[in-house]
Assembly symmetry: D2
Amino acid sequence: MSSEFGKLLRVSVFGESHGPAVGVLMDGLPSGEAVDIAELQRFLDRRRPGQDALSTSRREADVPRFLSGLSDGRTNGFPLLAVLENRDQRPGDYNAFRDVPRPGHADYTAFVKWRGAADMRGGGHFSGRLTAPLCVAGGIAKQILARRGIYSGAHLYRVADVFDHAFPLRPTEELFDALAGKPFPVLSDAAGEAMRAAVEKARRESDSVGGVVECAAIGIPAGWGGPMFEGMESRLSAALFGIPAVKGVEFGAGFAASGLSGSRNNDPFALEQGRVVTTSNHSGGILGGITDGMPLLLRAAFKPVPSIARPQRSVNLATGEEVTLTIPGRHDACVAQRAAPVVEAVTAAVVLDVALEYGGLNGHTERSRAD
Amino acid sequence: MSSEFGKLLRVSVFGESHGPAVGVLMDGLPSGEAVDIAELQRFLDRRRPGQDALSTSRREADVPRFLSGLSDGRTNGFPLLAVLENRDQRPGDYNAFRDVPRPGHADYTAFVKWRGAADMRGGGHFSGRLTAPLCVAGGIAKQILARRGIYSGAHLYRVADVFDHAFPLRPTEELFDALAGKPFPVLSDAAGEAMRAAVEKARRESDSVGGVVECAAIGIPAGWGGPMFEGMESRLSAALFGIPAVKGVEFGAGFAASGLSGSRNNDPFALEQGRVVTTSNHSGGILGGITDGMPLLLRAAFKPVPSIARPQRSVNLATGEEVTLTIPGRHDACVAQRAAPVVEAVTAAVVLDVALEYGGLNGHTERSRAD
Amino acid sequence: MSSEFGKLLRVSVFGESHGPAVGVLMDGLPSGEAVDIAELQRFLDRRRPGQDALSTSRREADVPRFLSGLSDGRTNGFPLLAVLENRDQRPGDYNAFRDVPRPGHADYTAFVKWRGAADMRGGGHFSGRLTAPLCVAGGIAKQILARRGIYSGAHLYRVADVFDHAFPLRPTEELFDALAGKPFPVLSDAAGEAMRAAVEKARRESDSVGGVVECAAIGIPAGWGGPMFEGMESRLSAALFGIPAVKGVEFGAGFAASGLSGSRNNDPFALEQGRVVTTSNHSGGILGGITDGMPLLLRAAFKPVPSIARPQRSVNLATGEEVTLTIPGRHDACVAQRAAPVVEAVTAAVVLDVALEYGGLNGHTERSRAD
Amino acid sequence: MSSEFGKLLRVSVFGESHGPAVGVLMDGLPSGEAVDIAELQRFLDRRRPGQDALSTSRREADVPRFLSGLSDGRTNGFPLLAVLENRDQRPGDYNAFRDVPRPGHADYTAFVKWRGAADMRGGGHFSGRLTAPLCVAGGIAKQILARRGIYSGAHLYRVADVFDHAFPLRPTEELFDALAGKPFPVLSDAAGEAMRAAVEKARRESDSVGGVVECAAIGIPAGWGGPMFEGMESRLSAALFGIPAVKGVEFGAGFAASGLSGSRNNDPFALEQGRVVTTSNHSGGILGGITDGMPLLLRAAFKPVPSIARPQRSVNLATGEEVTLTIPGRHDACVAQRAAPVVEAVTAAVVLDVALEYGGLNGHTERSRAD
């Protein structure tokens, strides 16, 4: 692996939070696909902090520059490279902690792995900033999939102790569009308000909260994927766990299935206008690692933001002493809010990769068949 | 992917439940490693149904035959192939369902993917039988890791509504050995009894239950893994989701972290005889995708066994009618019991792969050096 | 890599010359493909020493046993494992050289890599015996490709100082069949006789000769492959150099192109019944890494067999002394004779892999389209 | 594959000849390695056309800009992205041939693969311009290897009918430095003069010539690589054939070995101050896919530049007629001259990848150890 995933569509991410730029390389896109830049920017903006008082006050211009892969607004089949310049940084916020690792961060482990050579300012290559290029990749993937009737959406299933409604059995494109238009991606606005309050409370208390993003995709034909390690869950989880702060991934009923009986968890088959469907979707759209035609349904759990302004216990790696550290600076109290588009983006990229492998999209648009 | 995983240590599984044999190919093992066949067999027997009335009554001789890769009881560095012949089959149990997919099984999806050519008797290549060769691979990996001070253990964290104790902050080799010696792998015998009762109850009711396996590994140095898609969670989950019936994977506090505050979830650093440790382990031993030296801790959620003897709603793919089907035959009411060694095996194989990449084990047991 | 190659069709080889068996695992075959066992055996027999006085006198029963992947004579879509038991061995032939590496063999390098743990009897996993399972894989691939109008053939382009005719611009299926039927695969029988004489002469002199195999494939549509490292030459050479004794690979005019002028080497485009063709084929059917519809044409150079009965200079790794060693036993004086089917097999496996990626064969036979 | 190669060190190239930029992404570099920018630029300049009247008159500023992966002049362990802006283009040179493929170019095959969507101006992603970022990657790899006593060099072994001397049995770092300092990389200046004359002659005749680059690397320890598809030849050839215009790759005696006897081609072992060496090097430093400690020696054959100003026969893909086309513009009469640093660069990148896998460089320059 490394900072890349995918089989036919290889997605590689690069960049450090305080380096010149971050970006993404996509190798294996089919050619002739129109990329609507305005639509892509709207998708990226769903992630951009600053739209909402709850997120970090750091502003960045997340307008990607394409160095290759596009000609006259369409993919040309060659590797696509998108760059996002880093502009709004306050290096001073992060300089004091070279020797004192922040709990919950990768400072300590990066130090051990790279003996201090890693540029960990702002989190380096571990930073949430790296989710921006993931969204560029996923945004492009979503457009290509949408042309083939595959749509996705994501919402905040949980923030702190507040739960949103779950996706219905058959989420629609309209539901996904409605979610995308909301600044705070929830199905229940009441839940959304409670979530905002929980985040605000954490912020005031110099603390943070975690959350769970639920993502669904519709229109995926049955038959994609394979058994064992070739399965959809393996491919999706390998990519989803690459998103910083993700500590759990589940499909369909997920961990809840462990408490269900078989008679309850099994999804009965039925016919609907000649199509095979299931009357429940505890499988999350996947049976034996292969799609069954029902909506793909997954959840990613995000741990609470580790950067909090409270004093925390740590050690000074240079002096070998236990110390107390306090992290100043601007921090999100919850990443899950903007993680919804990131989870959706990664899911879309993996689904496109799978579509290329099983759906005949390879080469040029005319060859795509969902059947 | 496919039916294989790993980067330097490639593990490929083959075989169908009702074919001649199942087995595993391991490519990339270091040479000179002794393989204690008796110890390996004991590990395999932890999985073997028939030791315990709760499991399926099917008996199989899970004694692997090594066709390559071992010389005089030691790995020779060449690809290792182990074969487990299939002997105890009752094909009649499965023949009636070619056209009528069983809910919760891969029958339907395999039909779509391979248009009926897949040999789905007994579940084909999707069968739980494929976990036997995974245990051969993991059993060998465990022995190699143990020589380097890396030990692992797994227990039933949950079965139905019954919860076991969680692993302590610092599980020991002794604790792992004790677990391995129990027919029912639990920390609390009282919980074990309640679990057995729940399984028995389900069996009597022609139903099934699910469970969660918790696995820990100690002795892994800090610094292994990498950021983003190179992370430990990505590598482990890609392999764990390849185990049939797994629908969720989490690390450390996992999904529970989404409900914790940052001040609670962050693991404070401290010193212990000069070593950097954390005083809690919500990270599960992984920060930023890289090991931090604390015990690796993960959980895999298993859905309830889909083969239940109750009538279920399905469709006849040949006639296009909705039908009711009833599955006869011998079925486990819960796979989680024997899934504990399987989760441990897969975890060990991935940890060995990581050890080969970062720990200098490549080539021969005396670490290779360039100059 | 390792002992496997391929992207969608993964081919892994295992086994040691003096171990219990050798074999091959093929993961990613499309399902529903009939495998004609008799035809496969005929292809394997083209490789089998003993048909011809020129080859080694060792007899082996190269009849593969399929442990998985086939049901009722057809691929079932699951990983396919074929085993070839090793039977006719004379271990005594090889035991005396543990400490004294044979020049031209992998004894020394395997010793360094695996510190003596490698089982190098008979060459271990480096042995030409490993070409038998490669032929099983390639034989199956050939059958699948033939159903789609893709045919291949190989002949001895050169043995010692004797050259055969080259393939014509448009080799035909009939030409390939004629070659396959000959015990000594040459286009010119006169050249064949001269080659046999050269090999016999070497044998009598306790020496050996090398050769070049030329392989061609017809019926491959234009448009398969990709630029740079995704190219056909990269994929084919990576697999071909995995064949023991191969020290050079070229495509089309190959090394000779380096001495041609551009005006000569460029293949002019023309039309033939509406199809784009070239009037020469110095490109070997590949332009920019992508097939152009003309016959694929490649050559693999085999070094002379290193096992010769003459005294050779070596060193005793245990004592640190320079010594003279003499290798007894039965040895081919030239592998190129039986290497022709091996080159053809590997080429077919790679072409099938490419066909799966670009030709829509994934999943089931009905989805293949060559267009 | 795709436009990337490598196992632990992944090298991905992007960019089109007439797009905004070309560049390279290197993922997996060890951290803490100093990158001497001036030395890197000198290496890049060995490739840069314009230094010499023989090459194309196009001028480009090949000064890479690093967007990630370097901190304070050292690798930081994160993915490294280098960008080379495209500046000196004359799009008018290439616009007339959208429908009429140039013989010997990828126009036709790219058209079939991407149905005209590929941006083939200037050759698009197939252009020799893509060798510039390859040299950035290789230049960095060379510096890292040099610190470990591994040095490489390349010269023009052949241009048209003119042959240079071959590398001696034991090329030295001094020899490599001398070669690097020459504008025309040859061992024999007389041969160099004859080569220049041959290229000039071709240029005057509106034709082109091909060539062969020979590359050697010293200081590689024995024991790196593996049998079969894991071998050094497989890894190197897969990358070398990714260089535009390469049609043949050989190691050691290569194709010439096919005409040698075994007694001649085998390299006898001997001792030299306690070290095992061979007294000849027909193996090219590789036995059984594993390095033997002798110099790595390989050759890559380049076809003659396909862009020549003479009229050539082609077809008009839009009208379906056979036509004659003439290519105006500025063209090299021979790429082999600047291909020498490219072959050296690709070789270095692969050797570094192998060093990371077998030589314990992973993580940080001080070799990582597990326990």
